[in-house]
């Protein structure tokens, strides 16, 4: 399985993501700089977290209009797996590859802590390493993770199994509607989530609940 990580200026969890993909996938992902003209042929494309363009204007807005995103859109249409974490999720939403919007946290504060996630749909390329209803630990670190969508969109997401993860056990850190932490596109080859599974994959992180997500996405789970 080959993976690539797209890097925009201001992203800062790119190194964390590269480390996770390397450790779990056994090979280093290709790094795609936002000004590169194309994305190499890979099976998984990841947009990591951080503050692309300083989170100025709206989180992810400026990166979402970068020319490399057109190349990404073509890959999505071809069925390539795309994962966006935190700012990566915001970028995918701003680019219209995922529905809704990520608003400022209800507390208005940046929040960094561990939360509980419920695996809502374990029947996808990203989540088959988990079981449906499983509760996992995962850290969050963001200022704008408050998921919002209109009632119709929400109903569609819920009805079509497009909610991937939900904050569980009263740990919703940001006020997200329906406790949504991560969602899929219609075809379920695009996943965006606010929490950071890449920061919980080994003993040094105090746990490895995030590992199965990468193992699934990298086709290491049958």
């Amino acid at each position: 399985m080959k993976a690539a990580v797209i890097v925009f200026p201001g992203l800062n969890r790119d190194r964390d993501m590269v480390a996770a993909l390397t450790r779990i996938g056994g090979r280093e992902p290709a790094i795609v700089w936002h000004q590169d003209s194309d994305i190499p042929e890979v099976d998984l494309i990841v947009i990591p977290g951080g503050f692309s363009y300083g989170d100025y204007l709206r989180c992810g807005a400026i990166a979402a209009r970068s020319p490399i995103m057109e190349r990404l859109r073509e890959r999505v249409e071809k069925g390539v797996r795309v994962l966006g974490v935190c700012n990566g999720f915001q970028i995918l939403v701003e680019a219209g590859l995922l529905p809704g919007a990520l608003m400022r946290n209800a507390s208005l504060k940046f929040v960094c802590r561990e939360v509980k996630l419920e695996v809502v749909n374990a029947d996808t390329d990203f989540t088959r390493g988990y079981t449906k209803g499983q509760i996992i630990r995962c850290p969050v670190a963001h200022h704008d993770g408050n998921y919002f969508a209109d009632a119709e969109t929400l109903a569609r997401l819920e009805g079509d199994g497009r909610v991937a993860f939900r904050y569980a056990e009263g740990t919703n850190p940001n006020g997200s509607l329906n406790d949504i932490a991560g969602i899929f596109n219609e075809r379920k080859n695009v996943l965006g989530l606010m929490p950071h599974p890449e920061n919980l994959i080994e003993a040094a992180h105090g746990g490895d609940d995030g590992r199965a997500l990468f193992a699934s996405a990298l086709k290491q789970v049958a």
């Binding site: 200026p9 201001g10 800062n12 969890r13 190194r15 964390d16 480390a19 996770a20 000004q35 951080g50 503050f51 363009y53 300083g54 989170d55 100025y56 504060k109 940046f110 929040v111 960094c112 802590r113 850290p139 670190a141 200022h143 950071h196 890449e198 920061n199 003993a203 040094a204 992180h205």
Partner: protein, 579 residues
């Protein structure tokens, strides 16, 4: 707002620049003529307390700064300590007290930005940050606003930049009501053979400006940081600087990329009085003159004068001396990261600091006297009066359980989670112990088992009661917090926050605290490798509690064995050890 260079130099103007009459006389003697307006600005920036350490230098020299692992002690942007395997930890602490009181968010944010720059200027990638905060009484009308602004600002900058905050302090005391303390610490990792210094070498080499554009931010700011607060504080507001962590993050990546190309001979970040201090320091340290052509400086505002450009504190800027044959390589790196890049001067062999602006020479000064030969004072000081211990009968009696509850519920001991959950404590994926324990611990990237521990400590009320013992205690607590995680303490940085040094009793606090710190550091083989002094922390004649913050760094051979504060199992014996 346009200022000319031929403004008459009056005694009032001299005073406004924070220069005492005898200091001005020294300037006249030194250059043999009246300074130009720009020159007066340059002197005020270089000779103020903040840049010159004129009141504290004599005493700082008494601190132990050497050790078998110390690669670079005080005098550079940050201290450098060997951690084996060809790696070094680079760290420093710095205050941003006055700006944070005026505009808590931006003041704290730019404080964090400044200390991060100090670290990556030396070629190190920042891997850990701490913040030691002191606010007024919780009930004081300004406290809530200051706490939320400062914490948001520290997080706003550090989180976006991408460095984990692994520790810090938060304390409240009415003595900080009008003068809060914001001390920011940063540490980075570098290879021991790839450390960069500010000393310029080579004549006729290009001096290159990098980073953000220059505006009128903080013009007069460095002077302000060394002036006592009075009631006219509102008037000083427009000099606030705004931080841009997005630019800083790009500057970090660009600098590290550039350093890897071998193009950099010397580098200095532009902090307080940016262009002035950085250029003079690079030249003075290298025994070289510097000539600047201000018309080449990237500016973001119109009609900026030489005076404003020389004193601007715009953030996220660097000055470098580059190998001339690598200029094109360097330019390419900065274009990739979309940062400004301009050759703004050259090194010379005449030991002069010359500044050209619109065809005029607006400054021509002896560079050594501005820099490493700035004035130094042996200020009068008095021995602190040490209060007698309370008589046993005077100790208030209280039910033990009630006392415990009061302690645990009080603002001095309550949980700091509200603060540190606003900081990204796990970015970079190496945080072994996050805030909440004795010291923060990170794993050393590129190494299987090694870890580093960080803590920041001082108990100001001890220092108030007995500056000498308080200084010792701060070092000892810092040392203990490191060892409590299983780390071997390596070295420390200090941030000495005191009141007005022109008052002998305050100067006495400073002298005795430094003595205590030195004594403890010598006893523990715990050298001070960097630091910062913040004086004039007073409002209307009332000084803060003497607050010499100690930031310590320790080394763990195996991070797996680092010990935490939580009990791990039932039925385990509890031991009490020590004195």
């Amino acid at each position: 707002m346009t200022l000319r260079n031929d403004i008459a130099i009056t005694p009032e103007l001299v005073a406004e620049h924070g220069l005492k009459p005898d200091e001005y006389q020294k300037i006249l003697d030194l250059i043999g003529r009246e300074p130009t307006y720009t020159e007066l600005g340059i002197f005020s920036a270089m000779w103020n307390e903040h840049c010159s350490y004129k009141s504290s230098k004599k005493w700082l020299r008494t601190l132990p700064t050497e050790g078998p692992r110390v690669i670079q002690g005080p005098g550079e942007n940050a201290g450098v300590v060997d951690i084996g395997d060809g790696q070094a930890v680079v760290f420093k602490m710095e205050s941003h007290n006055h700006p944070s009181f005026i505009e808590p968010y931006q003041g704290a944010a730019t404080g964090v930005g400044g200390i991060l720059r100090d670290v990556f200027t030396m070629g190190a990638r920042p891997v850990a940050a701490m913040n030691a905060l002191r606010f007024g009484a919780p009930s004081h009308e300004k406290t809530r606003h200051l706490v939320s602004g400062v914490v948001a600002g520290v997080g706003g900058y550090g989180n976006a930049f991408g460095v984990p905050t692994v520790g810090g302090e938060v304390e409240f005391d009415a003595r900080y009501n009008g003068n809060i303390l914001v001390n920011a610490f940063a540490a980075g990792l570098a290879d021991t053979d790839k450390i960069f210094y500010s000393k310029a070498e080579g004549v006729g080499l290009p001096v290159v400006y990098l980073g953000a554009k220059t505006g009128r931010d903080g013009v007069g700011g460095a002077t302000m940081a060394s002036a006592e607060f009075g009631d006219d504080i509102e008037e000083k507001r427009p000099t606030v600087q705004v931080g841009d962590p997005f630019t800083e993050k790009r500057l970090l990546e660009a600098c590290l990329e550039l350093m890897a190309t071998g193009a950099v001979i010397a580098i200095q970040d532009m902090g307080a009085a940016g262009l002035t201090c950085s250029a003079v320091e690079m030249g003075a340290k290298g025994d070289l003159g510097i000539e600047l052509d201000l018309d080449q400086v990237p500016v973001r505002e119109e009609r900026m004068t030489a005076y404003e450009m020389m004193l601007s504190e715009s953030q996220e800027r660097m000055l470098m001396v580059l190998h001339p044959d690598k200029e094109a390589v360097a330019r390419k790196v900065f274009e990739k990261w979309e940062l400004d890049f301009a050759t703004v001067g050259r090194t010379t062999d005449d030991l002069r600091f010359r500044v050209l602006w619109q065809g005029d020479e607006v400054a021509d000064l002896p560079i050594k006297d501005l820099g490493d030969e700035a004035p130094e004072y042996d200020r009068p000081w008095t021995e602190p009066v040490i209060p007698a211990p309370l008589a046993h009968a005077d100790v208030p009696q209280m039910d033990v359980a009630e006392a415990l509850l009061a302690l645990v519920g009080g603002h001095q001991c309550s949980s700091r989670r509200w603060v540190y959950e606003q900081y990204d404590t796990l970015i970079q994926g190496n945080s072994i112990q996050r805030p909440g324990g004795d010291a923060g611990v990170i794993r050393v990237e590129g190494h299987e088992r090694k870890g580093l521990a960080f803590t920041s400590d001082v108990t100001p009320r001890y220092c108030e009661a007995n500056p000498y013992e308080g200084g010792k205690q701060a070092v000892a607590e810092c040392w203990r917090n490191l060892t409590a995680t299983g780390a071997e303490p390596l070295a420390a940085t200090d941030n000495l926050n005191f009141g007005n040094p022109e008052r002998p009793e305050i100067m006495g606090q400073l002298v005795k605290a430094i003595e205590g710190i030195g004594e403890a550091c010598r006893a523990l083989d715990f050298p001070i490798v960097s630091g910062n002094v913040s004086l004039y922390n007073e409002t209307n004649g009332q000084g803060i509690l003497p607050t010499p913050t100690i930031g310590g760094v320790g080394l763990l051979p195996e991070w797996e064995k680092s010990v935490r504060i939580g009990f791990v199992a039932e039925d385990q014996p509890i031991l009490l050890i020590g004195g």
